[in-house]
Symmetry: C2
Subunit: 649 residues, 2 copies
């Protein structure tokens, strides 16, 4: 009855579920109680592990009990150990599945000593990956928009992939780190993708079927213009009865095909996508229309808050893209339906290596919110550079969370594709894993998660391998920040593809992304007193902290203020010397990491070692390019020589 555990094709990396990760559990006498499809999944997993490592599924004298006491949807489980018996109890198959993978993570420790009964429960009910995968290859963006890991796991050349074994394996990896929802197509919905909603829903249903045994619900990105594009209506006005009927009918047919369908993801009135503005309606009107269509079935609409003017005039200093999401959505707080989730990028701009946390997140107390992170490394090295984002995400998730989390869900843009290592750069797997674990427990220590990932992915690794991995990953986000855009200024990237430096690349563009560097200083004045007023969008104490260059944290100084190159940072260095120093340091740190990796050649599988080593070459080349372009640009502009006399071109 239960599906077998998915089998990876030759050459595909098992990521954090290598066979060895199941050794401790697979050697036990295991008793499984309960029924239902996800219990069946646990059964198949346990049976497979026992077959490999000499354990057995038993009906008495177990060393491990996995028990589902009912069939509800709860994801919680209780784990304890007493008298040589480890027990996992849940009130349904979902909880049991997470409990099972928790035991896998614990490894041998799950079967040692005593362990007090403790309930484990995810802090966030929806832990989701958005795939920006195109069905048809896009002429500019390709098969996966901002994808750096080969093709799509779901689609190839205009069709769903026939073989779903890899999708099943993907679902298994996601379940093992706690992810429970996937949107299977790009938020920019082109012609072929639009039709997934209607006549091509069968393809989505097949994917949903492959992900379901691992507790993952499938979501679909849809175009707001669907009633026109697909339904032949003359309008997509969310208050038009015909439009609402069309969505109700379309949604009913979706649920016929996928009874546990998660819902819609919508990018509306954003970067050219259609939306309610065309009809003089608000985004609440738009989102609520879709929420109404989904409500009878328990579905949710994820409505992205990434709305701004992408045809701005660079000469216009009054408009500030950073303000846009807050200005658009705060007036609508309280107007969104309960099953309309506003999906907010973690920063006010667009996934830069350093941004403040979006003030919108703390300002929508009457609206369900999802915070959106970007696992795919669009602006953070595109999986050619090592950049482990755990520390950044942790900072974001802890911001303003003293009185409870100000959001309900966590979403990340996936970094996975059909690459043999799943993520292009083998070490970028750590980002995917970390995201899942932080979504389960946003206050978790990212360093602990990294250790967990190392332990699972490299089971039985000698100490120097674990140490080496930790040393090249742990500080890699700050290293990347050092050799790229300084002090929160952002967007000094090549236009279009966003890889590599171009200090003025977005400076005279319509995208609202400026640094205003001149011969005297650099940065954007976003204070209330003299700037765009963005700092005033924060609650206290942050509004005050960000308002003044004296109190603003160094790492965000140029995001909030335009300061002279001679401005002295809290670190004691001037801005210009900070720019030079960090850029030299960043490259040196990459050089060191590359050496550490080279030293691990004897303890890492050859293909994996080679793949990472090759990417370090590119990372180092690119880091040097960043260093030299940024330093040259600011030296030419400021005229201030490096205090340490290093080479600036």
């Amino acid at each position: 009855m239960s599906l077998p555990v998915p089998v990876l094709s030759e050459g595909v990396d098992p990521a954090w579920l290598p066979e060895e990760a199941f050794r401790a559990l697979g050697g036990r006498r295991i008793l499984i109680r309960g029924s239902g499809p996800l219990v069946e999944t646990v059964h198949a997993e346990a049976a497979e592990a026992c077959a490999r490592f000499g354990g057995a599924l038993v009906s008495k004298d177990p060393e491990l009990v996995l028990e589902s006491t009912g069939d509800d949807e709860s994801e919680a489980f209780t784990l304890g150990r007493r008298d040589g018996r480890t027990t996992v109890t849940a009130s349904g198959g979902r909880g049991l599945l997470y409990g099972f993978f928790h035991v896998v993570r614990l490894g041998a420790a799950a079967f040692e000593g005593e362990r007090q009964l403790r309930e484990h429960r995810p802090a966030l009910a929806v832990r989701m990956l958005d795939h920006w995968d195109n069905v048809a290859v896009h002429p500019v963006m390709g098969q996966v928009e901002r994808g750096y890991a080969g093709g799509s796991l779901f689609w190839a050349d205009g069709r769903a992939r026939g073989d779903l074994e890899r999708v099943r394996a993907y679902g298994r990896l996601l379940a093992a780190c706690g992810i429970n929802a996937v949107a299977v197509n790009n938020v920019n919905v082109h012609a072929a993708e639009a039709r997934l909603l209607t006549d091509r829903i069968g393809e989505v249903a097949d994917i949903a079927g492959a992900l379901r045994p691992y507790g993952i619900r499938t979501h679909l990105s849809v175009t707001f213009a669907a009633p026109m594009v697909l339904g032949g209506r003359e309008t997509a006005d969310p208050l038009d009865d015909g439009v609402r009927e069309w969505w109700a009918g379309a949604t009913a047919r979706v649920y016929e095909a996928i009874p546990d369908f998660g819902g819609y993801v919508v990018k509306a009135d954003s970067e050219g996508q259609p939306g309610p503005f065309a009809y003089g309606r608000s985004h609440a009107d738009g989102a609520n229309m879709l929420a109404a269509a989904l409500r009878p079935y328990g579905g949710t609409v994820h409505w992205r808050a990434f709305v701004y003017d992408h045809r701005q005039d660079w000469r216009d200093r009054a408009t500030d893209r950073a303000r846009a999401a807050y200005d658009h959505f705060v007036p609508l707080d309280g107007e969104f339906a309960a099953n309309a989730v506003l999906q907010v990028k973690h920063g006010p701009m667009d996934f830069q290596v350093r941004e403040p946390v979006s003030p919108l997140i703390s300002a929508m107390s009457h609206t369900a919110l999802a915070v959106e992170l970007q696992a795919t490394q669009e602006y953070t090295g595109q999986q050619r550079h090592v950049c482990w984002l755990g520390p950044m995400w942790s900072e974001v998730l802890r911001f303003g969370a003293r009185d409870g989390l100000p959001f309900e869900e966590l979403v990340a843009v996936s970094n996975a594709g059909d690459d043999p290592f799943w993520t292009g750069h083998p070490l970028a797997q750590a980002n995917l894993y970390t995201f899942g674990r932080l979504a389960w427990r946003p206050d978790a220590d990212p360093g602990g998660i990294l250790d967990e990932w190392i332990g699972l992915t490299f089971p039985g690794a000698p100490g120097r391998l674990a140490d080496g991995l930790r040393s090249v990953l742990d500080g890699s986000w700050r290293t990347y920040e050092k050799y790229t855009a300084p002090l929160g200024v952002g967007f000094m990237v090549q236009p279009g593809h966003h890889y590599g430096p171009s200090v003025d690349g977005y400076e005279y563009s319509p995208w609202g992304t400026y640094h205003f560097a001149d011969r005297d200083g650099v940065g954007v004045d976003r204070s209330r007193a003299t700037g765009t007023g963005y700092a005033g969008q924060y609650a206290k104490p942050w509004a005050e902290v960000y308002e003044s260059p004296e109190s603003c944290p160094d790492e965000l100084l140029l995001f909030f203020h335009h300061v002279p190159y001679g401005h002295v940072l809290k670190s004691g260095r001037t801005v210009i010397q900070h720019i030079y120093d960090t850029h030299f340091e960043g490259v040196e740190e990459v050089e060191r990491a590359r050496k550490v990796w080279a030293s691990l050649a004897d303890v890492v599988a050859p293909e994996r070692h080679a793949r990472v080593a090759e990417r370090y070459e590119e990372q180092l080349r690119s880091a040097r390019e960043w260093r030299d372009q940024i330093n040259s640009y600011f030296f030419r502009k400021s005229g201030v020589p490096d205090g340490r006399g290093r080479t600036i071109y």
Copy 2:
């Protein structure tokens, strides 16, 4: 026997051959003597004109005699008028064809008063257009690389166009301005295009057949790697016997298909194209191999001198792209076969709005040279801006020509496509016409050519239309220069597509295109004394003139020197004030031209007027963007305010 005069499809503009242009001639009694295919063409033209305007082909008492006395290939003709009879005499059909179009150009004046017998003879034997047309649509470059006039006249979606009537009409337009050779495909030869040389030569033969009646020989761009790509050889080494045999065989088959085939055009070892360097051979070796294959049939190889390092390191100040063509080719002077023509871009860089004339042109006295111009406006407004290049080309052609022209041929990259106006911007037709006429007579006054074009294209135009056209075209090149890159600095364009400003767009790139602007000054030191030494590639007096900022002409100052913003030009203005002034002036000039055009609405056909008016809107928008970006960039860098207090952002 003779083909009829080509008929244009509905809506296609007749350019400089409207019916009215034939009125003066078409009303006469015309006697035609001689035989051969091109005499037949003249016969068909004259008959058509007479049928329309009431004249007649007669055997006695003619008012116009068109006589070919033989059947040689000479393009010269003799024109005179005496006792009420105009005579055109040539020693073959080619000369007679050019004589015929000369009479068309003269209009009524051809039949007035007396006219001394005078021989007209082109200064250059080959007057050629290179089409950068792709057979298959290129994923980045499209159907026509750097094409701004719709699709290709020759190719569509991977195949030769079936209907060749438009090609015949194109040939007729070219003959009427003096062009006698066309290369039908892009110098970047991709997979589909490579095969035109072999199994697809029939498609080229069809085009050649359509162009032949108007005296135009067809040339083909080929890949140097053809023996490998098409012939399955393991090498393309030009000294390898098998390779030479392969080319000899391939060329023999080309001439079987096209007996008057012109020859090959080759871009080798340039921007990624294959070439002889891979085999340790010189460009003379490469060119001479192809020349040897072509020699038995009277064909020519055009070997492009556009060879430079396009993977330069911007940090490396010693390498200078401007030096490259001279450094590569001067050592080879005298080594090229007689039918190997070295095709040299007019400037040392790449068709910028202002460059010095390439020193290579005067340095190859033992090598046949073609100077290459660019009619397609890649860097000069892409046929969205009015930029009549006659004055620039005239400057180029007069440079160093005191003791005779230092080159034998003139080539331009065509600006024509399947657009109804041929050139996208209707006024860009003037560039194509001017090129042809300058190729015939390089010392002609470009203003006179412009008047000629106006007279033909707008026959019987009221004076204010002719004045208006002259005023918007005559100074348009200098206007474009004013609002774009100042003082010869070049390349401040958006990377890739090259439209619109990006001051640093190529500053940190591998393309060898830098301006080195810093807070103190701008420009490239190419002097012998302190710079790259490029100035020393010129003969006297230019080596001295360019060597010093004092003697260097203002318009080339930043090409040759790095100077402070406060440097005082010969004009009396500082460099920085010159930048501001010219950018404001340039935009004002566009505003005035736009108004002039608007005032002509009642005397220009509506479609043409609307097309130009619409492009003026874009030109003005773009010119303002140029003005503001350039001014802001240099203000932010220099800190020097505009002396007249105008708005700089």
